[in-house]
């Protein structure tokens, strides 16, 4: 299970600036369980966006957005409303946003930040990886996570070490930033690369005590106390 929380409304609305219409995608997996991207939240998001003057061309809740084959088969009946939209708002974890961005040729905006669970990463089939950094940057990088796609985890662009589009460290591995460039170029959004991304807040990458407070954690704590 991957835990996510919705981004602040102003941030989401900011991503949609200059766009008139949007298609909303939710996920029946972890995002539903997190209360951030299940059918209920997708419905709420739809009315909020409409109130804000955006046209919602359609919506869909897929189980699960981390599975690219599933995304493609489930969205087959939604091709027209997706085509009619300027972008897709993806209400799920960082893995889901990346999988949708890879599967659908559309600008994908992340609606959630993925919360760090302190090591429990859940399971998925695809190649997309999410560091659960708590400050999703996929809006600026074409739906490809620079923290995981770039070996150095650079967030402001390519280092000088790429050769023939491959990483200096491993000639088998694509340079994450060249993937990002090619994706954004295809989406006609290279302007996003010019944005200065400020230093990350690593506090947000730390799992908080509440998150760690599963019933088992509480039990372990009690037994430690008893031992003491």
């Amino acid at each position: 299970m991957i835990l996510s929380k919705q981004k602040p409304w102003e941030e989401i609305l900011g991503y949609l600036e200059g766009e008139n219409s949007v298609f909303i995608l939710g996920c029946n997996g972890c995002a539903q369980a997190s209360g951030t991207g299940g059918p209920e939240q997708v419905k709420e998001m739809k009315s909020k966006l409409e109130e804000a003057g955006k046209k919602v061309t359609g919506s869909s809740v897929v189980d699960f957005l981390c599975e690219k084959a599933l995304i493609k088969s489930r969205l087959r009946s939604k091709i027209e409303p997706i085509k009619a939209a300027d972008s897709i708002l993806v209400m799920t974890c960082g893995v889901g946003v990346q999988a949708v961005a890879a599967a659908v040729n559309k600008v994908c905006h992340p609606a959630c930040d993925t919360v760090n669970l302190g090591g429990s990463r859940g399971e998925w089939m695809g190649s997309e990886r999410c560091l659960e950094c708590g400050e999703c940057l996929l809006e600026y990088t074409g739906g490809i996570c620079p923290l995981t796609a770039c070996t150095k985890g650079l967030i402001n662009g390519q280092c000088g070490g790429a050769s023939q589009g491959k990483c200096e460290l491993n000639p088998e591995k694509d340079c994450g930033w060249e993937l990002i460039y090619n994706r954004l170029k295809a989406l006609n959004h290279l302007d996003k690369l010019r944005r200065f991304i400020p230093p990350k807040d690593y506090n947000k990458m730390m799992p908080d005590v509440e998150t760690m407070a599963t019933s088992r954690w509480a039990l372990e704590r009690t037994s430690q106390k008893e031992k003491a």
């Binding site: 070996t151 150095k152 985890g153 650079l154 967030i155 402001n156 662009g157 390519q158 280092c159 000088g160 070490g161 790429a162 050769s163 023939q164 589009g165 200096e168 460290l169 340079c175 930033w177 060249e178 460039y181 090619n182 170029k185 290279l190 690369l193 010019r194 200065f196 991304i197 400020p198 230093p199 690593y202």
Partner: protein, 291 residues
């Protein structure tokens, strides 16, 4: 004269590189400083180059300064978090260091401590932004400093990245670095002036001086190694053949470097000579280039 004033005067600028060694023996650094003083405008001090642990760039920059050579303190983001980076910048200012070159840094797995944790808390663009903040009298979170810094920040660019995406990404990042405060650039080694000219045409509008990188060739093996393993560096076959045919390889390496400098003189604002162990030959290279 400071590097900043030389660059602003429009004079063709020469910088060289001094690489601290592993250990506390500073004899070679002092010798290099004596040889380079008066011949170059400033000298870069590399920071744990190629992720190999050595004497630090801050202390070495200070030594150069004491010897009357204007240091360019290289700072990578690989080994220090934002607290240590800012603190070392304050220390550098107190030691009289004026020029800082902000770089991301090679991965530790390429060096002699591959087990090390790569830090990269900040990247080169963010480090430039932090330097600008310190110059304004604030740390990166907005706390006021008692005594601000006065750095002349520089950055690097690799004009030789060999895909369209990579080349464009380098230009985009260069612009981001300028917006974050970079006032001059040094490049990866250049062996093809015609290609470099195209790069310079693209960055003309940025109005920031670019010093072209020069690495003197020492052997055929070195040229082949760089072509295979150093991203963005390409030594054309013609130069490799020249080295192979040469009776005196050292002399030929010096001549090739000098010729490159002559060709780059009209298309860049200066050159940055990375002699990698040949620091003592820099004056010969400059003599041969007529500088």
């Amino acid at each position: 004269m400071s590097l900043q004033s030389v660059l602003e005067s429009g004079k063709f600028v020469i910088t060289a590189e001094v690489g601290p060694l592993k250990g506390t023996d500073t004899t070679e650094i002092i010798e290099a400083a004596e040889i380079l003083r008066g011949r170059v405008d400033a000298a870069n001090v590399t920071d744990q180059q190629s992720s190999v642990m050595r004497l630090g760039s801050l202390a070495t920059s200070h030594l150069l300064k004491e010897k009357g050579l204007d240091p360019i303190f290289q700072m990578t983001c690989r080994d220090r978090n934002r607290i240590a980076l800012q603190s070392d910048l304050l220390s550098a200012h107190v030691l009289g260091i004026e020029n800082v070159l902000a770089i991301t840094g090679d991965l530790p797995s390429l060096g002699d401590h591959p087990q090390a944790m790569p830090v990269y808390d900040l990247d080169s663009v963010q480090l430039l932004w932090v330097i600008s903040r310190l110059n304004q009298g604030y740390d990166m979170v907005g706390n006021e400093l008692k005594g601000k810094t006065n750095f002349f920040p520089g950055a690097v660019v690799n004009p030789g990245v060999n895909t369209e995406a990579g080349f464009e990404l380098q230009l985009i990042k260069m612009e981001k670095k300028i917006n974050a405060g970079a006032r001059f650039f040094q490049t990866q080694a250049i062996y093809e002036p015609e290609k470099f000219y195209k790069f310079m045409k693209r960055v003309e509008g940025f109005k920031v001086p670019v010093l072209a990188g020069i690495i003197p060739l020492k052997s055929v093996g070195m040229a082949r190694y760089m072509n295979k393993s150093v991203a963005g560096v390409f030594v054309p076959e013609e130069l490799i053949k020249k080295m192979a045919d040469a009776k005196d390889k050292t002399q030929t390496g010096i001549e090739i470097a000098a010729n490159l400098i002559k060709e780059l003189k009209d298309i860049s604002q200066g050159v940055h000579i990375m002699a990698i162990g040949w620091e003592k030959k820099v004056p010969e290279i400059l003599d041969a280039a007529g500088l």
